[in-house]
Symmetry: C2
Subunit: 335 residues, 2 copies
């Protein structure tokens, strides 16, 4: 095995000490809102997720050299693609616009699914470029750049997907002025069943349907539930987690856009789910269960129901991903 | 010392096994809302509080035989006084309307202070009568009767004062349908400074001023803070507790009714307070600090300021009271 010194010697000319010439990263899908915590709570999955390969290039500037898995839906212009645009912001911030960067983005998750697709891509890119340059910033310091990417992708710079994608685990965005992200504990037996029904619910439309004024009484119900969920996570109290995950404000509106929503809920609860709700702005739905078998069972029963209705779907099962993005070293890059 | 058997033998005729002929109880004042948790959070103080003495009497029925410390402000009719009315509900529920009960209420805290005055009296009475009859109900089972008392006193049967008064500590009312009360941990160094300025803010008026519709954006800010506060309590993270205790929804309206509110806040924060806000519907205010000296200092500086403005006040300092109501055995009842 080579020592760090030897590795540094083999990198090509122009790469400073601690820097690398290629980094390949996976970043995970995320479930925002967690039913009762609209715009403040989210958690990371083990699958699906996106991969980004970042390479040093001789010629200065940031280039998108390959995008796969998006069926041509993502922008190829570096200023409009969330991965390249956030990498450029990062390089400007650290004063390294002089270098050359080539980006490959390999999407392994559906776009417009409500599973934080743009967040996974953006976080993978930022985590990779930061590693490439010897980690000048901490993970938490990458968050504002990831939020810029969200602004570009969704029209709002929220952190409820990028925070768990970047930091892993369950995250609370306590506030934005200043940004205050609190890591919450994840009970060890918690498993998520996730189903993406193949219907189109653009994030912008889903947000625009939500009323900007709500009844104080409903807001009180909601923050009672948010408090109960946080307490349940700290206590490993699965029953409390389950009964706290109710949404009286957003779900009644968003569920209209998701076919079979209430039938999927009934099937999930009958199959032993602690809770069921919309992932982000949908159309993906998710359920919490207390073990892998139960979570797999919930995914299967929901997918079977959708199939019977003529609706295709992707299904996943995952524990809470405590790690967030990770470097891929045991695998060849596509290019 | 007498054995339990001997004590039972000395009680007067008609008192069944496990029952007693007199119980004297203290129940504490409480701070509802905890700034960001309107209608869902509250905690108990060690002082002030109210005392209730309950005695068996020969003649059936519930009688209020003495009320002190209320300056004649509380109803003397058993059906309108919260203590006697909730005791009657309790007796009806357990099927003991045949017995005779005499109630003394000794108020040691101001009425209309926003410190849960009616809750302290009601909880003391219920805890005492339950003990008197050999504790047929658990503490939690007494909660609905205490909520009935709040309905009578304040026009709304909320549990945000009665739950911490009855159970002690910091409580979350996660929801009302069904009633779900969650005990939250209290960081050991947390001390409360409490000041009651002698101005009149009736609870009913304070509630009626609050808008029934709120901006979703403000509600999101609020439940981000509620989640942060709960996480801070579990983590003993005093900084997180402090920065989470902000209220963008209710305080701006209620503070109008409290003279010197913003100046009291400035003084508290300058004196090292983690947080500052309204207790319940006011006019009492409270601050959290990390030790007794700091909390005492905050109480003093606020009271001195009020005095300089010609406003009288009561001041208190207390750790979180984890015990709730307690029987008083080392003290003579007034009658």
């Amino acid at each position: 095995m080579k020592t760090i010194m030897e590795q540094q010697e083999t990198t090509k000319t122009g790469v400073a000490s601690g820097e690398r010439d290629k980094v390949h990263v996976f970043a995970p899908a995320t479930v925002a809102n967690m039913v009762c915590g609209f715009d403040v709570l989210g958690f990371a999955l083990h699958e699906p997720g996106d991969e980004v390969v970042i390479r040093r290039a001789g010629e200065p500037g940031v280039r998108l050299v390959n995008i796969t898995g998006d069926e041509g839906r993502l922008p190829r212009e570096v200023s409009r693609n969330t991965v390249s645009a956030s990498v450029i912001s990062f390089l400007q911030y650290i004063g390294r616009c002089d270098i050359g960067i080539e980006i490959e983005l390999h999407k392994h998750m559906p776009i417009g699914s409500g599973l934080g697709s743009s967040a996974a891509s953006t976080v993978a890119g930022l985590y990779a470029v930061n590693k490439l340059l010897g980690s000048p910033l901490s993970r938490r310091e990458l968050l504002p750049f990831a939020m810029e990417g969200e602004e570009l992708a969704c029209g709002h710079g929220h952190a409820d997907n990028v925070a768990p994608a970047l930091l892993g685990g369950i995250t609370l965005i306590r506030g934005y002025n200043p940004l205050d992200v609190v890591a919450l504990p994840a009970p060890p037996a918690l498993h998520a069943s996730v189903v993406f029904p193949h219907v189109d619910v653009p994030t912008r439309d889903a947000r625009q349907m939500i009323r900007t004024k709500v009844a104080l009484q409903d807001a009180v119900t909601q923050w009672g539930n948010v408090a109960g969920l946080v307490a349940g996570l700290f206590r490993n109290d699965y029953e409390l987690i389950g009964r706290s995950m109710q949404d009286v404000l957003i779900e009644p509106t968003r569920a209209i856009l998701i076919p079979e929503f209430y039938e999927m809920r009934r099937l999930a609860i009958d199959a032993g789910a602690l809770s069921f709700g919309i992932s982000g702005s949908g159309p993906s739905v998710f359920a919490f269960a207390q073990n892998a078998e139960q979570a797999n069972g919930i995914t299967s029963v929901i997918q079977a129901h959708l199939t019977a209705q003529g609706i295709g779907s992707h299904g996943y099962m995952s524990k809470i991903n405590m790690e967030g993005p990770k470097e891929i070293t045991n695998k060849h890059a596509v290019i």
